[in-house]
């Protein structure tokens, strides 16, 4: 099934649950009305948290730039000996 259908079904299930809570009044209705807002805000906060954590843990590799330069020099030397004119960057 298409992905959007999966997402909509999930939202429908959550909505049905919410409506059920409203009708059953296990939680005071005033709280229940606010649940969707709590849900959206939590989702937003979770997203921001994931971005922040990911940013802090962002893998970097400065040594790779050095290694690449070495490879480039090595390749240029090789081609010079073989008479292939690669010109300059």
């Amino acid at each position: 099934m298409k992905h959007i259908v999966k997402i909509l079904s999930l939202l429908a299930a959550i909505s049905a649950f919410w409506i059920g809570l409203l009708q059953a009044a296990i939680i005071p209705r005033s709280h229940t009305w606010l649940l969707p807002i709590y849900f959206v805000v939590s989702l937003g906060c979770y997203g921001l948290l994931m971005v922040g954590v990911g940013l802090m843990q962002f893998p970097t590799c400065p040594q790779e730039a050095v290694l690449l330069q070495k490879d480039i020099t090595e390749a240029k030397e090789f081609f010079k000996h073989k008479g292939v004119d690669v010109g300059s960057d």
Binding site: V51, T60, E64
Partner: protein
């Protein structure tokens, strides 16, 4: 100790490496040199799809063909800049390998990772092995904080909306089973990096097994702003398109 290939099975596989180029005169030579260095015991061919580069890229490729053999390096050029997706399709027509590797010509993708792609595929029989920059042994060099932020934000958004099953959606260093690439590429219509996202998401939806290997990505295009407002809009539109149609 027997040759590793004999341990894995009698069948010896061939790999076609498709590299689209535009004005990569120096880089294409270096990439070819590095590929030959790192794939010494592998049967492969390099297919250069050049879009009419004015800087003499095709001349260099022809010299490389003299050096390495015309059966190892195929030059399949096009008249002008026609886009990445069609470049892959064009290269695919000439690919005689069992597997196809796609990679960038600007040295942001280092050929030294090719053996790990091949090994991962042989171990898992995956349909697609994709390189990921965002895991511990991977990484990026040359991005400032803003670039990392947008990358990370874009990734979180895509993960939340699409549940793609891979950590690096916009990466373009990948190994495909040839038949899988042919199948997936025929159903993709996007352009640019959204195209790369569409490829991997469609493959995931079709149930193809996708594995990841860490890669490092050295961005040497300093100073050029690749992330402007219009790119962000294009990205968001791409996300919505993928959300609704995959």
């Amino acid at each position: 100790m027997a040759d590793e290939k004999e341990n894995i099975g009698e069948k010896k596989y061939k790999y076609s490496i498709i590299i689209p180029t535009y004005n990569e005169r120096l880089n294409i030579a270096i990439i070819v040199y590095l590929i030959f260095n790192h794939l010494r015991d592998v049967d492969f061919e390099i297919i250069v799809v050049d879009d009419g580069s004015p800087d003499g890229t095709q001349d260099i490729v022809k010299q490389l063909q003299q050096l390495y053999g015309e059966d190892r390096i195929l030059l399949r050029a096009r008249a002008k800049k026609l886009g990445l997706g069609t470049a892959y399709i064009h290269g695919l027509k000439y690919a005689t390998g069992d597997f196809v590797v796609i990679m960038d010509a600007d040295l942001s993708h280092h050929p030294k990772y090719l053996p790990s792609f091949i090994k991962k595929q042989l171990e898992t029989d995956a349909s697609i092995v994709t390189g990921t920059r965002y895991v511990k042994d991977g990484g990026v060099h040359g991005w400032n904080l803003m670039r990392k932020l947008t990358s990370r934000g874009a990734n979180v958004l895509a993960q939340t909306l699409l549940w793609p099953g891979v950590s690096d959606l916009t990466g373009s260093f990948r190994l495909y089973k040839k038949l899988v690439l042919e199948d997936v590429i025929s159903s993709c219509v996007s352009k640019g990096y959204v195209f790369q996202m569409e490829m991997i998401v469609r493959a995931s939806r079709k149930g193809y097994q996708i594995e990841e290997v860490p890669i490092t990505f050295v961005d040497r295009v300093f100073g050029t702003s690749k992330l402007g407002g219009s790119e962000i809009v294009e990205y968001l539109k791409g996300l919505v398109y993928l959300l609704l149609t995959t």
